[in-house]
């Protein structure tokens, strides 16, 4: 692939192929996310973007290919045969295209669930509620509250998640993912269903997340203005094949991309 000299990717895949029965959903996808970057994955509906996310997060196991995740420089882990919860614990967190909050739990509890892998208390700790467990609970509740505060959701900490307005639910999903302390955050169509003002807020939020939490972000998005404004590099997927990659300004002019999105003149 053309582009800048390979630096220090937080994620790189090579030859990722996903076949469902006779359907090739992903074909030989070579992909990389530079550390600290915001990378976008775009493509028409059904191009295989969410399938790619599901491969990365262990929900699907790709038919072929290598996916290497590097939580910190000099450390690399193969993601291919790992279970979803293991991948999250290693430092890849995600949000979902259609919001999947824990609807009947409170906002704070949603974030606390995100803290799960960073807590140690087991069955005995829960039953005996010893000092260590209590301290851990308090520390995590405080951490969660702080996180909610940082992202403007503290006022509704004790509200049931399903009662939040739509935009706040999207934001809570991101906060919940951040609670797992990821090195790489995957956002699956975060702007879906948001209005123009909310999308502008999201743009700001994504940048803020990257700066404040010091992580890399990979996002799937349909909203072109958001993608062009927020991302450092863009990959374009069409029918499971990567057809273009590069900085947003280049992608915008790429005739193949225009064709995939708009059809031939």
């Amino acid at each position: 692939m053309s582009g800048p000299a390979p630096g220090d990717p937080v994620l790189s895949t090579s030859g990722v192929t996903m076949i469902f029965g006779g359907l090739t959903a992903l074909s030989d996808v070579n992909f990389r996310v530079e550390r600290g970057s915001i990378t976008a994955l775009i493509g028409p509906n059904g191009a295989g973007k969410t399938t790619f996310f599901n491969c990365l997060t262990g929900i699907y196991r790709p038919s072929r290919g290598i996916m290497t995740f590097s939580p910190e420089p000099g450390r690399s882990i193969q993601l291919r045969k790992l279970a979803p919860d293991r991948i999250t614990r290693l430092g890849v967190a995600r949000t979902f295209q259609n919001i999947r909050l824990f609807n009947n739990l409170t906002v704070l509890e949603n974030v606390l669930v995100g803290c799960h892998s960073r807590m140690k208390a087991g069955l005995l700790g829960a039953l005996l509620r010893d000092r260590g467990t209590r301290d851990e609970e308090r520390a995590m509740a405080e951490f969660s509250y702080r996180l909610l505060e940082r992202y403007g959701l503290a006022a509704s900490a004790n509200h049931v998640a399903k009662n939040l307005p739509y935009g706040a639910q999207r934001r809570l999903e991101i906060v919940r993912a951040l609670a797992t302390r990821p090195a790489l955050l995957l956002l699956d169509e975060p702007a879906a269903g948001l209005n123009i003002a909310e999308t502008r807020e999201l743009d700001e939020l994504i940048r803020f997340v990257r700066e404040r939490e010091g992580l890399s972000i990979l996002l799937i998005e349909h909203d072109m203005s958001l993608v062009m404004s927020v991302s450092d590099s863009v990959y374009v997927l069409d029918y499971g094949v990567l057809i273009a990659s590069g900085p947003p300004a280049e992608i915008r002019r790429d005739p193949k991309v225009v064709k995939a999105y708009l059809g031939e003149d």
Binding site: V113, L123, Y145, H159
Partner: protein, 468 residues
């Protein structure tokens, strides 16, 4: 309208004065029609039961047509009342939704169901109610009849069962229709260990719980990939297998069951011989009371207290939140780094533990067990307790167990209609209060900034919607 010329904003016209009575009349007609239809349909269904009667003396069929109008009228009125009540419930639901959408949700994150039971939330009132309840429960054996104590033991056993199943169904969301199997394992562990090895109640209590837990793990492993309906069917089949094993295997003595299961011992004291003569003359005990039963009552009361404490702590722990997350959304739960397999297994096994405990107490209470005590009906009963009381709610499950065990006892006066009324109450409850008697509420976290002085400030996004 004249107003429109003065106002710049288009105002929706107020409803015409005559429109309301017309639609109300229409609605009434519709209701009457629906009631009439159901009366006709009910009459047709009841025809063979009510009207046709085979006269075995003459060998002919008698037609009792005179009964039909009364039946139809009753069906008509019942339908009308039912539909009226349904409409009222629908109305109040809409109103609640409007309240919710309008203002911010009430502090404390309670669901839309915070009705008269909100009283329980106020700390002093809550404490007073808890203290009064504990006092009442502790004093029962000293003023009640032996019959009441026996019924209360059963109720407490079912509270334990309900709280255990609540972990599986209410908290972790795994539908288990075979809970009676674990109850049976607890009871049979005690019965068999006593009959063969002479072990007593206190040795068997942990062993029974352990056996049920192990069985829960054993069943848990093959069903980990299942959820929802499939899981329910498998647990149902599993319970049937356990029951059939108990019926057919030699050492369980088959359908004849196991007799002479002893009561728990209190340091080897003969309670009826030495303690009872001290209490009865002072009016502290009913003359016919079996003190062993009283002791069992206190044992199961202690087990219930322990169970409540354990379940409460579990629910508000890392593990409990993992179960709740599993119930809410399995995919998102995994995406939060929760090991789904482990969460399911622990919920299943721990839920079974309490069935084992309850089983040991049950065996010692009725002194005789056979497979007939652990049928599908028992599983359904426990599940009903959880659903009727309120899924995931500890006080709900306790109230549910008391209602479902005591109700049939109080309804004994109605003899034949007992189970009919019981069923009717269940149906009415599920239609009008599907969230249970006391719905579960979420824990509220209070954050006091003064506890956390020196917090970094200013490094945050403004709240949702605060920006222009």
């Amino acid at each position: 309208m004249a107003q429109d010329t003065q106002e710049n904003l288009p105002v929706p016209p107020p409803p015409a004065a005559g429109a309301v009575p017309v639609s109300a009349f229409r609605r009434l007609l519709g209701e009457l029609r629906a009631a009439a239809l159901s009366a006709v349909w009910f009459s047709v269904l009841a025809l063979p039961l009510v009207v046709f009667r085979i006269n075995s003396a003459s060998g002919r069929i008698d037609y009792l047509w005179g009964r039909l109008p009364r039946l139809a009228a009753a069906a008509f009125l019942a339908t009308l009342t039912w539909r009226f009540l349904l409409r009222r419930v629908g109305f109040s639901r809409v109103r609640r939704a409007v309240v919710e959408a309008g203002g911010p949700p009430p502090e404390g994150a309670r669901g839309p169901e915070g009705s008269w039971l909100t009283l329980l939330d106020r700390a002093p009132a809550k404490r007073a109610i808890l203290a009064a309840g504990a006092l009442l429960l502790l004093s029962i054996p000293f003023w009640a009849t032996p019959y009441v104590v026996t019924v209360m033991i059963t109720a407490l056993i079912y509270i334990t069962l309900g709280l255990g199943l609540n972990i599986v169904v209410g908290v972790a969301g795994l539908l288990n229709l075979g809970y009676a199997a674990f109850f049976a394992v607890g009871a049979y562990t005690f019965a068999l260990l006593h009959a063969n090895l002479g072990l007593g109640f206190w040795a068997c209590l942990p062993l029974g719980a352990l056996a049920a837990t192990l069985l829960g793990l054993l069943l848990g492993i093959p069903i980990l990939r299942l959820s929802g309906d499939y899981l329910a069917i498998v647990t149902l089949g599993f319970a049937e297998i356990v029951r059939l094993v108990l019926v057919n295997v030699g050492f369980t003595n088959g359908p004849r069951g196991i007799r002479n299961i002893p009561p728990p011992s209190l340091l080897g004291i003969d309670l009826n011989g030495s303690v009872k003569p001290l209490l009865v003359p002072r009016g502290l005990l009913h003359a016919d009371m079996d003190l062993n039963k009283v002791f069992i009552y206190f044992v199961i009361l202690a087990i219930v207290a322990l169970t409540v404490a354990c379940v409460f702590r579990l629910e508000n722990s890392r593990l409990g939140r993992a179960w709740l997350a599993l119930r809410e959304d399995e995919v998102a739960c995994q995406a939060m780094g929760i090991n789904r397999t482990r969460a399911k297994l622990t919920a299943f096994a721990l839920g079974s533990t309490w069935a084992g405990l309850a089983g040991v107490v049950f065996a010692s209470q009725i002194t005789f067990i056979n497979p007939q005590s652990f049928t599908f009906l028992t599983s359904v009963m426990v599940l009903s307790i959880v659903v009727l009381g309120g899924m995931g709610s500890i006080p709900g499950v306790m109230i549910g167990a008391v209602v479902l065990i005591l109700l049939p006892e109080y309804l004994r006066e109605f003899s034949d209609y007992r189970m009919l009324i019981f069923g009717l109450i269940m149906v009415v409850m599920m239609v009008f209060r599907p969230q249970g008697i006391i719905p579960s509420t979420r824990r509220v976290y209070i954050y006091r900034p003064e506890d956390h002085a020196g917090a970094p400030a200013g490094d945050a996004l403004p709240p949702e919607g605060a920006r222009p």
